[in-house]
């Protein structure tokens, strides 16, 4: 195999594995803040238990997120040295900002969050939770800005020629607010809230089914359901905006996402289809006429450029792009259904007795994970053949001095290490869930601690 496909595969493996964790930490970060906020407001110790439990789960996802994230940072240089030289002036500043503004904030206050229950007062502890949550969100901001710049470059100019050619910033804010960055950022962030919310929903539903920690589970489930329902509705808008941006700036990607092989007016949206790579058409197509034209350009008669308008060698992998994109949409449907059913049962006061709804909720944890992964695959594979859209081809971004054997050996190493890591993660998560919210070990009740309010309440 050649270096290019191996390097792409390695990047795909490492980024996909990494991307299991940051969405969970960002989403759980938000939920943690909500729970601790409610505790500060109501002084009900139940919410303190909830905050503590979900903070422990947060810490687990954060630790693996950091360890796998360091890999990503160095991989730009190890495997994509030519790309790093080309974009360093633009992309590097966003990455440096991420380090200074996001990671330090997150990791610093996490220490207080995890180890500070008995060392700092409740308000400072809540502040730490807020800072960790903010840091987690910031880290998404900068990396999505950097990635969006690769989709819709802005605020730069090209200098020099030949192998030393590179992009340099001319306008920092134009680079940060490039045409797709804020739209994509909102889409990504709402996706992370869904990941966090459905983990909470799933675990709480499982407790209710097993009749354990009932009070805890009921309260957690309600918070999870509210966040999930709101996020599902928000995602409708951010998704629509993202689609419009793709239509405007990356017509080839739009054609691949929607399976539009021929340029057409009043283009349909296909609800279900299987792309046929040999005949370049959709099989078993169930489509709504005109909807794509309307969603993309606000006009049922608008012309949508098809794949045929582009040279075939530049086409992204239509089957993969189309399928993952539609998979993401189906997963959104699944999440909406789970959230609506849960809220419906809650309103009828039957949250604990609707067993099949609870079982559905237990499995719903997979929906946002699959949606996040599939959405990113369609976004990144759809950018083919460009590493930076219309500027630099993927093949031009490779490290010149790295050989196929080297990449293959590191790819094997990452596959082994990550498989091992994933098994451990699942094992420890299960342990934490089985163990439940109660702390078995005797806890110090120092004066300056979160326990202070419980003390006040009981005496």
């Amino acid at each position: 195999m050649d270096v290019e496909i191996l390097a792409r595969l390695q990047f795909a493996v490492t980024i996909m594995f990494h991307y299991i964790y940051p969405p969970l930490s960002i989403g759980l970060g938000l939920i943690m803040v909500i729970m601790e906020g409610i505790y500060l407001k109501t002084k009900n110790p139940l919410y303190l238990d909830m905050a503590k439990f979900w903070t422990r789960v947060f810490a687990l996802t954060f630790a693996i997120g950091v360890a796998t994230g360091i890999v990503m940072e160095f991989e730009f240089g190890t495997n994509w040295a030519a790309y790093s030289r080309y974009v360093g002036d633009v992309f590097g500043s966003a990455l440096a900002a991420e380090g200074v503004f996001a990671f330090f904030l997150e990791s610093g206050f996490l220490a207080l969050l995890l180890f500070g229950w008995n060392r700092i007062g409740p308000k400072l502890h809540f502040f730490s939770a807020l800072m960790v949550c903010l840091g987690a969100h910031f880290s998404a901001v900068w990396i999505v800005v950097a990635n969006s710049w690769m989709q819709t470059p802005a605020g730069y100019h090209i200098v020099k020629n030949g192998p030393t050619m590179r992009a340099e910033i001319t306008d920092f804010w134009a680079m940060v607010f490039n045409p797709s960055s804020m739209t994509r950022l909102s889409h990504v962030l709402v996706g992370t809230w869904l990941a966090g919310a459905f983990l909470v929903i799933s675990v709480s539903a499982w407790y209710l089914l097993k009749k354990r920690h009932i009070k805890f589970a009921r309260a957690s489930l309600k918070i999870g359901l509210v966040v999930a329902l709101v996020s599902c509705i928000l995602q409708l808008f951010t998704g629509d905006r993202s689609g419009k941006v793709v239509a405007q700036y990356q017509p080839l990607k739009l054609a691949a996402l929607e399976g539009v092989y021929e340029t057409t007016k009043d283009a349909p949206i296909s609800v279900f289809a299987i792309p046929n790579p040999w005949e370049d058409r959709l099989m078993f197509n169930i489509a709504i006429p005109g909807l794509l034209s309307f969603l993309a350009y606000g006009d049922f008669d608008a012309e949508v450029k098809g794949l045929d308008a582009f040279p075939k060698k530049d086409w992204p992998h239509v089957g993969l792009t189309f399928t993952t994109y539609h998979l993401m949409l189906y997963m959104w449907g699944g999440m909406l259904l789970a959230a609506v059913l849960g809220v419906y049962a809650w309103c009828r006061g039957k949250l604990e007795t609707s067993r099949w709804i609870l079982w559905f909720a237990v499995f719903s944890v997979l929906f946002p994970q699959i949606a996040n992964q599939a959405g990113w695959i369609s976004a990144e594979v759809g950018r083919y053949p460009w590493i930076v859209y219309d500027l630099l081809r993927i093949s031009e971004g490779l490290s010149q001095s790295v050989t196929g054997t080297q990449v293959l050996s590191s790819l094997i190493m990452f596959s082994v290490v990550y498989t091992f890591l994933f098994i451990l993660f699942i094992y420890l998560l299960t342990q934490k869930i089985r163990h439940g919210p109660e702390m078995k070990e005797e806890e110090e009740t120092a004066y300056h601690s979160m326990e202070v309010y419980i003390g006040e309440k009981h005496g």
Partner: protein
């Protein structure tokens, strides 16, 4: 562009200093927790090991962020150097990354299960990974000093087996010794009672080990890497750093003798600052030294940097961000000051 306040070569120099400061921050902070990791297996009882782990518990994560930020600063400020460094040192970096993953995971997972085999497995992984990281960092520094063959576009033309030579080995061992010393002083500072006395006894051999390896590495540098000492020959006042370095090292056993652990730790920090300052002075202005043709092929802070505007943006980000980072890092170290105790939230 004429309106930007600083000249290109000035801001390139400033960003070089900033990058070196990040490296110093990383070496001082992650240095002690890597050292604690290497020393981990020297303690046999579970309670001692938990004390050691929890002495770095709240801070190791934040310490690794310095590496991430130093990497980011190199990428942003000197993209050519970042690309050349990372693609040339492909295999060593992959080993380093594997080490960082295993280390993080072992800290997190070790105390989750009470079984002896479980804890031993993670203990060995934790200590092994810490050792590999420290040694690997040293080998990388040794190779950066010796230089690597590059072509005209900054691509490595050698083979990765060439990284393992005597000089790199000496610097690698010195780095391990340095972190062991630094870690043992940190542990002494953070513990009390019987364990504290044990660590007191362990500090002296680690100091002697460090001084020996430092001696070897210095002689090695003088004999094999004459380009590293040119700057000091040309500007004799840089020799002052060597003097401060020696005084700092000599001060460590003195402070320990008087039972002033914090001052011993600070002396050890000064030692690290001096070592990296000597590295930075010797390498300047090269970031990656080309062994085949140093004059024309080396990647320097002048030919490998970002544009004037980007360097200004970076400096602004650093001026806003770094005071924030330093203030809350200090607050966190202040809150977790004092001796380690095990409680329900410990590892």
């Amino acid at each position: 562009m004429a309106s930007l306040p600083l000249q290109l070569d000035h801001i390139q120099f400033i960003w070089y200093i900033a990058f070196i400061c990040l490296l110093i921050g990383y070496a001082i902070l992650d240095g002690f927790d890597l050292g604690v990791g290497i020393l981990h297996l020297f303690s046999k009882s579970d309670k001692e090991r938990r004390l050691m782990l929890n002495s770095i518990g709240p801070v190791w994560d934040g310490n690794e962020v310095w590496l991430v930020t130093a990497g980011g600063a190199l990428f942003a400020g000197f993209p050519d150097a970042y690309a050349t460094f990372a693609s040339s040192f492909y295999i060593p970096i992959m080993i380093l990354l594997a080490g960082l993953i295993f280390r993080a995971v072992s800290i997190e997972f070790r105390s989750k299960q009470p079984m002896a085999w479980w804890r031993w497995m993670w203990d060995i992984l934790f200590a092994g990974a810490s050792l590999v990281i420290a040694f690997g960092l040293g080998v990388a520094v040794g190779n950066l000093i010796q230089g690597i063959p590059l072509d005209e576009y900054g691509n490595h033309t050698g083979h990765f087996t060439e990284f393992f030579h005597t000089y790199a080995f000496m610097v690698g061992v010195m780095t391990v010794a340095l972190f062991m010393m630094h870690g043992s002083i940190y542990l002494m500072m953070k513990t009390e009672g019987e364990f504290h006395e044990k660590m007191r006894l362990r500090v002296n051999p680690s100091i002697i080990f460090f001084i020996m390896t430092y001696g070897f590495a210095t002689v090695g540098t003088l004999i094999y890497q004459p380009h590293m000492v040119e700057a000091i020959q040309n500007r004799p006042y840089f020799f002052l750093i060597v003097v401060i370095n020696m005084l700092a090292i000599a001060n460590i056993p003195r402070e320990i003798h008087f039972g002033r652990d914090l001052r011993a730790f600070l002396s050890s920090c000064v030692n690290i600052v001096c070592l990296l300052a000597l590295y930075a002075i010797g390498m300047f202005p090269n970031l990656v030294y080309a062994s085949n043709d140093p004059e024309t092929l080396s990647v320097t802070i002048y030919n490998g940097s970002s544009s004037l505007l980007t360097l200004h943006i970076l400096l602004l980000i650093a001026c806003i961000g770094i005071p924030l980072v330093i203030s809350y890092t200090s607050v966190i170290y202040y809150i977790f000051r004092g001796k380690v105790k095990l409680d329900a939230h410990s590892y």
